[in-house]
Symmetry: C2
Subunit: 474 residues, 2 copies
């Protein structure tokens, strides 16, 4: 029976891209939309996004950030006000040219990100130092017309949050850029059970219009890197482009300093490719739509279904997200189905378990079975879910650290990324060398290490200025 299901999913080691496609479609996380490059997020996938949203949103609110909503359509002229920004985004925008049965005077861009329109509104709202800092976030859809797309990882439309703040001083705005990076890192660890590398991006990899971009990068099962979140310090670039000015305590009119930060539905792709195995998904307990699935054994025997219902109720009261699969499929079919769907814990309950006051518990992360006391089911399963989260994180962390290798030459770097590693190497800081690494090894600078520990640039051999994590990336 098991083989029947496993055979539906491509081999994770030899064909990881197909494994990913099989898993996201067969588990009904997502489907392809009718317009090329779009996705439909199905209930099982959207429930993961809701859990991500709830966890992140409470962290933002705790940090004092308020939610707002800005319009989808941005005047084309706004995009051109910040020179680097338009260069970065113009090639991938979708444009509304007609509306209400007539041609528009000015074409409107479907937001690829909202720095420009939020900058415009901040320019209206900010007048005095008393109005600062102004810290807002929005949950919304954005659109970037991509040539090659994959569900969650790169789609023409995706869902995200984008936070935007304006501060009176450079120091505060820079500090917030780092604070939000750390918030993301803690969230990735605690909620997605996903270790990340964080650091500053190179000039080549930074956000169009930013002074500095910081990113968090996660290592996927195949050793490639997935950019999972970014924060940007904008200096006064957008404040100057949109007239975000305030009168300081000193009575002087001056420009504010802005920053922004975002994560998207891409995080769902990240957690799938971090934790999944040959059987399918392994969902981290904090975001799993179903944390515990109860499968009745010999369901027609007297008392079994009643006991399952009673257990479900108790577990729900204990705050767990529980599903009782009382469908007519066989237990074996259900085991496979819910394993593929990545439910962290399966409870099997049959006549003998009930008689003994026990339940049989299968944990998805290790695929091990054990027996637990029915009487203390709530506490035992809560503790087990915590243990699973910790194990998932430690396992992924161990893999990531085992797969960070150092390189002093381009050949070593190539060998490193070919072997599915992140490669730590010195870099002189010049664009030519960064381009050379890309050409030679199809690897990009993911983030810069906090300190420069290498002696020489991996490409030109001149003194190293930054130590960089290079990797192939999604």
């Amino acid at each position: 029976m098991a083989n029947q299901f496993v055979s539906q999913i491509a081999d994770i080691e030899t064909d990881f891209p197909q494994w990913y496609t099989d898993v996201v479609v067969k588990t009904k996380l997502v489907d392809y939309g009718p317009v090329k490059g779009t996705m439909v997020i199905r209930p099982y996938g959207y429930a993961i996004w809701e859990n991500i949203q709830r966890e992140l949103d409470s962290r933002f609110k705790q940090a004092g950030v308020e939610n707002a909503y800005f319009p989808l359509l941005i005047p084309m002229s706004f995009m051109t006000k910040e020179a680097e920004h338009v260069e970065g985004f113009a090639p991938e925008v979708a444009v509304v040219t007609h509306a209400g049965g007539a041609k528009l005077e000015e074409p409107l861009v479907v937001r690829p990100t909202s720095e420009t329109i939020i900058g415009h509104m901040m320019g209206k709202w900010v007048e005095s130092w008393r109005d600062l800092p102004l810290r807002m976030n929005q949950w919304c859809n954005v659109m970037r017309w991509e040539k090659t797309t994959r569900p969650f990882l790169r789609t023409s439309e995706f869902l995200w949050q984008e936070g935007h703040s304006v501060y009176a001083t450079e120091e505060e705005a820079e500090q917030e850029t780092l604070n939000m990076l750390h918030l993301y890192e803690e969230f990735a660890k605690t909620v997605l059970c996903m270790p990340v590398l964080t650091g500053r991006k190179t000039e080549k990899e930074k956000f169009a219009g930013a002074v500095a971009t910081y990113g968090m990068e996660a290592m996927m099962h195949d050793g490639k890197s997935l950019q999972s979140g970014t924060t940007h310090y904008m200096g006064q670039n957008f404040a100057k482009a949109f007239g975000v000015q305030f009168t300081g305590k000193d009575g002087v009119l001056q420009h504010g300093y802005t920053m922004s930060y975002g994560v998207s539905t891409r995080l769902i792709g990240a957690l799938i490719m971090t934790h999944g195995d040959q059987r399918g998904l392994i969902l981290p307990p904090p975001v799993a739509p179903v944390q515990v699935v109860i499968v009745p054994i010999a369901a027609k025997k007297e008392g079994v279904l009643d006991a399952c219902h009673a257990l479900r109720e108790r577990l729900q009261k204990a705050g767990l997200r529980v599903k009782l699969d009382d469908s007519e499929n066989s237990p074996g079919w259900k085991f496979n189905e819910w394993e593929m769907k990545g439910v962290p814990v399966r409870v099997e309950l049959g006549p003998r378990d009930i008689e003994n006051g026990k339940m049989t518990v299968f944990r998805r992360d290790t695929c091990e079975k054990s027996e637990l006391e029915l009487a203390s089911a709530g506490e035992e399963l809560c503790a087990l879910l915590g243990e699973i989260s910790e194990n998932l994180y430690q396992k992924a962390k161990k893999r990531m650290h085992e797969r960070i290798v150092n390189a002093e030459t381009l050949d070593e770097l190539l060998k490193g990324v070919d072997g599915g590693n992140f490669v730590r190497a010195g870099w002189c800081g010049c664009r030519e060398c960064e381009d050379r690494v890309k050409e030679f090894a199809q690897a990009t600078a993911r983030v810069m290490d906090g300190e420069n520990t290498a002696a020489k640039c991996v490409a030109c051999g001149k003194p190293s200025v930054h130590t960089v994590f290079f990797a192939r990336a999604y």
Copy 2:
């Protein structure tokens, strides 16, 4: 001091439209976006929407509906598959013609509603009776290019939820259409403290492509009606257009029956115009971003601020949304500000209150002051907020029922709506008479009453077939 503020808001009785505009802008609920007809929902307004979302979303989930997300852009060809639907929506869609730097082969419509694209996906997903019912909801932005716009009430882009279900039988789909109408009605009453009239819409007023539309209508301060939510029974119209077919238990391939339902950010406009008064907003406690504002009196006296902080903490622990206004403005300034912003309860805490173990409490709905015990602040204020909710509902309900009048002639009907009433009148059921009422009295059929209690049609005098609530409407 009070006058200074009141004078900023137009007179509610003589210039209600300007009152509305003044209130929504000055309380920072909303601002105008740079593109004509768009709005920016500012944090204070968005927090109301979040509270509405949370309350409605939990009701949907309780009812067994799951959230999902469908693409923003819909192929133009989809819109034309249901004949009435395209006729209704074509004049107001925004169209993407270019993307990624090139002209698109087929223009894409920014969704005005998602029946078509969801119908298309349901057609892919539904195969057997086992797949039914399929019940989904999405929270998203939609766009309808309107000529005359007003914040929350009618904007080219707005936020909403749209639920879509497919059932195997007509009876189930029709029943769900009524169930969701009742869910909305209960929500309006309990959460928005807003009484509504519910009923079926006439053919003229129904959704483009529906077999039957049901609506809930609320009476605004000026006696006009605001359509606040609708549910639609589609029969097999969309199922046939998009091939939503399933094999029944009898082995026969057949079309499903679909229905949909939605409410939008318009609800924020509804509650403002239901409850507001000359001083500004009066927010119902269940959705108020701030339920209790604490204003320190003689804040510089020893112990006052400490007592205010301690009270805030206690009230937060009691589950209340509390703001302590410790800014440098005068108490009088703060009173006016928070009254304008509609905070249900103000607590004033000064040295004498603290000494006596009391707090001075001002309730926004009646503008009455009283003293409550500090020791039991949490319970007392929770109870008071409940009382305020009940009072707001009863007050609005009384007004609505006092302002429903009967008419037997067009002159009576005109007199009724001129006087700011809903008019209950007989109708023969023909479109000509409905148009005649519109022309004669600028009133439209809002909903039909459950039973036909009138003898004659108000327009032609022939026997009445439906009793209708006519009103001027937003």
